[in-house]
Symmetry: C3
Subunit: 338 residues, 3 copies
C-alpha cells in the first residue's frame, strides 16, 4: 500500500462500484458483487484484497503467479490468468486501473482557506472553496474561480484569469494568461513571460514588445519547470486535454491542439502549430513556423526542421519518416562494422 | 489591439515622431506628418490608424491586401504595396517596427515602493525609485542601483551587486554575482550557484569549492528557468547585449561575448568561450573547454565537440561545417531510399 | 584570492596540516612543515604563499613558469616542476587540491536560527542547529534532522523527512520524499511531484495516480532547476553519492545507483535503471524501462534506446558502442567530402 505519510487511501470499494466506475465486464457472472477490495497494486505485489491489471502481454508470467483478487484484462489475454482470480474484462485495462486507483486515492480537495501570510490584492476576485497557500501572491484584478488551489510562493500577476477546479503549484509564476478549468500546473512552472523576440542587428539587438497572451484550455496538465512564453501579437494556446511534461519550452505564438502529449525537455520554437493527438517524445525539438499534423508522432531526440504530415511517424535530426530513419540507422551500422 | 487587461497602450503617436524614432524615410514627401496612429499590428490585421511592417517577401500578398495606414518597408519591396498606404522606407523594417511598438507599449517603470512583506537586510543599499515586491529577499551588503525592480519571491543573496534599470523576475535566485545595468532577468532564473565541480573518484567524488563569480554585463536578457553557474576560480561572464532564452544551462567559467544569441535549452559546458555575435540555436550543446569564434552559428540540436572557427556555420552532432552536414543528410536519404 | 564579498578564507594553513588532510607525500624531506600557506590558486596565478596542482600534462608549461609555493603533482610529472617549488606527490592531485580548497574555504555552517517570517507547521519536528530562512514553508509532520539549512522560499510539503547536514536551496519544492544526510539540493529544484503517468486514450487521457515516493540517499547533490518525479507505485531512488547537474529530468520509478554522474540537461525516462558509477554526459537521453550497466558511459547528446552493458562506452542517437560511432562519423565525413 502507498506510504500513509503521503497518501490517503479512502477505504474499501465494492466490486459493484468498480464495475460501474470502469465499465469493465465481470467474466464470472456468479461472483459476489458486494465483495470488497482495499487497494490497487501491480501484479507481482497484489494481495487477494487488491485489484491489478494486465496491459502488456510481456507481463503474462506475473499474471500467472499473481495473488491479486481481481484483474482488469483484455478478452484475448484471459487464458493467461490463474484460476481463482476475478477477471474484469475491458478493451482498456490500464485506463480501468487508472480510474480505480483514482477512486482509492482521490485528489485532495482544496481547503476553503486563505492563509494569513499570503498576499492578495484588494481588487482580486476569488471564488468559493479556494485554498491560497502561504506566501502566494495574487495581483490586481486577478479572477480565480471555485475550488482552486494556489500553492505556496506562487505568483499570479495582475489581470490573470483562472477558471474552476484548477491547481497552480508552489513557486510557479503566471502572467498575461487566461487559464481554464480542471487544469494542473505543477511547481516552478513559468507562464506568460516575454517571448524571445528581438530584431537582430549586427551590433545590438532590439527588443520587440510581446503583446499577446497565453491561453490554456480545460484539462491541460503542465509539468514542473516548464516555460510557456506569451504570444508576440497572436496568443500562445495550449488546447484542451493536452499534457505537457517537465522542463518543456514552448515559444511565443505556438498553438498546441487537443489531447497532445509533449514529453519532458521538448522545445517548440516560436509560431509552430502542433495538431491534435500529436506525440512529441522526450527531448524533441520543433523549429519555428512549422506545422505538425494531427496524430503525428516524433521519436525521442528527433528534430523537426520542416512540416510533418498528419498521422506520420518521424525520427532523426533532421526528422524524416521513421521507417527511413530506422533503415539509415541499420545501414550505418552495417557500414561501420565492415 | 493588445488585451487591455495586460497591456497599456500609451496613446496616439504622430507620423513625425515615428520617423524621428526610427530614422525611416517617408516615401510620400507631401504626406501630413501630423497624422496620428493608434497602434501597431501585423499586415493582415492592421487598420488604417495602425502601423505595420514587411520584413519577409513571403508576406508580399498580405501587404497587397493590407488596410494598414502605414508600413515600414525596404526600398526594394515598395512595388508590392497598395496605393493608399504610407510607406516608411528603411533598411531594417523589423527594427523600425520594434522601436515603434516600444513607443506604443513602453516598459512599465518600477514603482517607487518597497512592499511591507519583503525582507531586506539592514546592511543592504537600495537606490532611488526601486520596486521590491512582496516576499522578495534582499541579503546582507547587497547593493542595488536606481530604477530596479525585484519581483516577488526573488532571492538576492548576500553581497550581490546590481546596477541601474535592471529587472529581476519573480522567484529567481541570485548569489555570488555582479549584475550590470539595463538587464532583464526573467522569472525562475538561478544565477551564481556552485558549478558542477567534482574531483571524480572510483568511489566517492570530492566537491571542489567554486571560488569565482558570475559577471553579467549591461543590456543582457536571460530567459525563465535558465541556470548560470558561478566560476570555479575565474568568473563566468555574460557579455554586453547578449540574449539568452529559457531553460539554458551555462556552466562554470563560461565566457560569452557581446551581442550573442543563445536560444532555448542550449547547454554550454564548463570553461567554453563563446565569441561576439554568435548564434547558438535551440537545444545546441557545446562541450567543455572549447572556443566558438566570433559570428559563428550552430544549427538547432547540433553539438560542438571541438572549436568552431570565426564566422563559420556548423550543424550536426558532432558539429561539422553546415554545407557538409546538409550533404550528409542528402546522401543518407538517397542511400536509405535505394 | 576569491572575492571577499562572497567567500571567506579561513586563514593560513601549515604544510603539515595540508599533508595530513590529503595524504600527499612531501618530496623534499627536509622542508619546513611549519611553513604556512594562505590560499589555493591555479598554476598561472599562484603566488609563493599559495598551493596549486598539476592534473593534466597539457599544463606542464604553466607549471614550469608558476610561482606557486607548493604543488600537488603525480610522481611521473615531477620532472616538469621548477626548482624552488615544494612538491606534494600524490596519485590524485586534483582530489588533493579539492580537499585543500575545502580547508581554506569551508562550507558555512547553518546558523542556529529560524527566521520569523518563515512558516512552520506546529506538527513539524526540526533538529538542533538548523537554519530556516525567510519565507520558507515547512508542512505538517515534516521531520528535519540536525544542522540543516532550508533556503528562502523553499517549500517542504507535508510528511517529508530530511536527515542531518542537508541543505535545500532557495525556492526549491519537495514533497512525497525521504531525503538522507549530507545532501545538497540546489535552488529551484522540484522533487516529488506527480510523474507523467497517463492512460492514453484516442481522445482524453486518464491520469494515473502516482503512489510512490522519492528516496534520496546520503551525499547526493542535485543541481538547480532539476526535476525528480516521484514513483508511480515503486519509488524513484537516487543512490548514495550520485551527483546530478542542473536542469536534469528524472522520470517516475527511475533508480540511479551509487556515485553516478548525471550531467546537465540529461533526461531519464520512467522506470529506467542506471547502475553505479555511470556517467551520462550533457543532454543525454535515456528511454524508459532500460538498464544502463555499472560503470557505463554515454557521450554528450547520445540517446540510449536499448540497454547499455556494464562498463560500455556509447555514443550517438540511437546510442551504439562509441568506437563504432566514431567510425561512422569518420565514414560520413569521407563520403560527404568526395
Amino acid at each position: 500500500m502507498a506510504d500513509s505519510r503521503f497518501f490517503y487511501n479512502s477505504g474499501s470499494i465494492t466490486l459493484e462500484r468498480i464495475i460501474s466506475l470502469t465499465g469493465a465486464e465481470l467474466l464470472d457472472k456468479n461472483a459476489d458483487k458486494n465483495l470488497k477490495f482495499n487497494d490497487v497494486a501491480p501484479l507481482d505485489k497484489a494481495q487477494p484484497d487488491e485489484i491489478s491489471f494486465l496491459d502488456n502481454i510481456k507481463y503474462a508470467d506475473s499474471l500467472k503467479y499473481s495473488k491479486a483478487g481481481a484483474c482488469f484484462i483484455h478478452q484475448k489475454n484471459i487464458k493467461h490468468a490463474p484460476e481463482n482470480m476475478l477477471l474484469l474484462v475491458t478493451e482498456q485495462p490500464y485506463q480501468a486501473y487508472a480510474l480505480t486507483a483514482q477512486a482509492f486515492y482521490p485528489t485532495k480537495l482544496p481547503k476553503n482557506l486563505i492563509y494569513n501570510n499570503s498576499s492578495i490584492a484588494s481588487s482580486a476576485k476569488i471564488g468559493a472553496n479556494c485554498q491560497i497557500d502561504t506566501f502566494a501572491v495574487i495581483g490586481e484584478n486577478v479572477e480565480i474561480g471555485e475550488n482552486c488551489h494556489i500553492g505556496s510562493g506562487a505568483s499570479i500577476a495582475d489581470g490573470v484569469i483562472i477558471g474552476n477546479n484548477t491547481r497552480i503549484g508552489a513557486n510557479s509564476t503566471i502572467s498575461h494568461s487566461i487559464i481554464g478549468n480542471n487544469i494542473i500546473i505543477h511547481r516552478g512552472v513559468h507562464i506568460g513571460q516575454d517571448g524571445f523576440g528581438f530584431a537582430l542587428g549586427k551590433g545590438a539587438h532590439i527588443k520587440v514588445p510581446q503583446l499577446g497572451r497565453v491561453i490554456i484550455e480545460d484539462f491541460v496538465e503542465i509539468g514542473s519547470g516548464s516555460c510557456i512564453d506569451r504570444g508576440a501579437g497572436p496568443d500562445t494556446i495550449i488546447g484542451t486535454g493536452s499534457k505537457i511534461d517537465n522542463l518543456v519550452q514552448i515559444g511565443h505564438n505556438v498553438v498546441i491542439g487537443k489531447h497532445s502529449i509533449i514529453v519532458s525537455q521538448v522545445g517548440i520554437a516560436g509560431s509552430s502549430q502542433i495538431g491534435n493527438g500529436v506525440v512529441l517524445a522526450g527531448q524533441v525539438g520543433v523549429a519555428g513556423h512549422l506545422k505538425i499534423g494531427n496524430g503525428a508522432k516524433l521519436a525521442a531526440q528527433s528534430g523537426a526542421m520542416s512540416d510533418v504530415p498528419e498521422g506520420a511517424a518521424y525520427g532523426g535530426s533532421p526528422a524524416i519518416p521513421i521507417k527511413e530513419w530506422h533503415r539509415q540507422t541499420l545501414l550505418k551500422r552495417k557500414e561501420s562494422k565492415k
